[in-house]
Symmetry: C2
Subunit: 281 residues, 2 copies
């Protein structure tokens, strides 16, 4: 892959030759890449099968924080994509791994549906003893009371980890207008507490790294395919992966121009991205 | 007063002599200086009478954004302080003056009680035509829906003024614990919209200036007395006034050490502050 270390050689290896040596794993974003709303995007399910048939390890990396992993897997299977639990990476799973590693409970500010991903870590009142604050997209459950309760967790224990599953500013809502995303409420908590949240989802490097570690692959042996130039492609490339931007989902004309360095590849959709990736093997 | 311009003279004027020439006006914070909760602070009402008897112009500058000016005046009168409408300066009044000057309506994010200060400027749905966004302390009315509606005003018209009546991070709540203040929700709107709010209350220089203009006094001819080191005293001193910090209300030991330059005077309470001010005349 392009960013792989090169040994001195009589003849410089071409980019394609490097790629042929290395591609072991492909990481895929879900919303806007594999599906849009309730439907699979055209050619996406078949494209995923081709990656599997080529012997590539797959991981699905989504920043969704409204659904527990069980529902995400059910949705994939409903669309005809057989995905195993260990192939899915969500920010909630990253937070859970972090809490278990440090032996911490959690106070969760999220939609109730997400609670199952933190089973056993939440006290009855949602406030784990000696816990971290975990902020997900609570949507219209971002009430003053819920935010203020979370704020007091930060104020009561200045050492408690302050984990944000994502920090998106806004999203295109069902009515076709922009709405405030979870990042705005993370910013509110940061301002009030004068503390800084640690962001766990894409584009955090650790999120990509955890997916690669589960495979045993190096960044130079992996590609990420996504529709979000900054979170998916920019984040992956900063972590040393090959970045492929697709022109589906939230992609808008010229998104690739906002990235420095530019994406390794811009493809019309997942099927076209897979065509290109398989040629690199 | 200390920060007054000095002309070359055969002998340097002393600080006291400058003050004697200049003191025309005293600006007073209310909560924590004149009253605490529902009661006047000891000696405060009598101290205000002494300022009036000395011929000083008075202005009351409060950052409260939960009460309309009518209720603030009623509270003062109930405590025995005769105050005229034109002596009171609230951030809502500053916002109204600004809107009227620019011929703008307003979308108000606030407690319902504050609406009367914007009478005639709010459309029936609270969203004035061609309007500005005005954010006050809405307390537990900071719901996702109300915030998102305000956010869309900012997104629909990138030129609409974005006015924050205050930007405090947190306050000591009735239960003795810190709670999120309006500034946190201003920060959320700023983060989501990638726009910056204009803050109208203390410590904004324009707020002090408007009070002085209503008197016809220069900053060097005025003193501000407050219990908030940053908003009251730091803000007033940055605007060129003399700053007096009182050890009542939200004052905590050492607050004066956080200011650079330090307050011109730290006094035990309003009565002691007035003792000192009257000696400067």
């Amino acid at each position: 892959m392009p960013r792989q270390g090169r040994k001195p050689a009589a003849r410089r290896r071409t980019r394609e030759e490097d790629a042929q040596m290395a591609l072991k794993a492909v990481l895929l974003d879900l919303g806007g890449v594999v599906y849009q709303g309730g439907d699979a995007l055209p050619g996406a399910v078949e494209a995923i099968s081709r990656l599997r048939e080529a012997g590539l390890a797959l991981r699905f990396l989504t920043n969704t924080t409204r659904k527990p992993k069980r529902q995400v897997l059910e949705k994939l299977r409903g669309l005809g994509v057989e995905a195993e639990t260990e192939e899915l990476f969500t920010p909630a799973m990253a937070a859970r791994a972090r809490l278990e590693r440090e032996g911490l409970g959690a106070h969760l500010l999220a939609k109730a549906a997400l609670e199952e991903d933190f089973e056993g870590l939440l006290a009855d009142n949602g406030n784990g003893a000696g816990g971290a604050l975990v902020v997900a997209d609570a949507g219209d459950d971002f009430t003053f009371e819920a935010l203020n309760e979370a704020f007091r967790v930060l104020m009561d224990d200045g050492e408690a980890p302050f984990l944000a599953l994502a920090k998106n500013r806004r999203f295109m809502d069902d009515d076709g207008r922009p709405s405030m995303d979870a990042g705005a409420f993370v910013a509110a908590l940061e301002y009030a507490s004068e503390r800084e949240a640690e962001v766990l989802g894409k584009p955090a490097e650790g999120f990509f790294r955890a997916a690669l570690e589960s495979i045993g692959a190096e960044p130079a042996e992996a590609a990420m395919v996504g529709d979000d130039a900054e979170a998916d492609v920019g984040g992956a490339m900063a972590a040393g992966l090959t970045g492929v931007l697709v022109r589906t989902g939230k992609y808008r004309d010229g998104d690739e121009d906002s990235l420095e360095p530019r994406p390794d590849r811009v493809a019309d959709d997942l099927a076209a991205a897979v065509d290109w990736l398989l040629k690199q093997m």
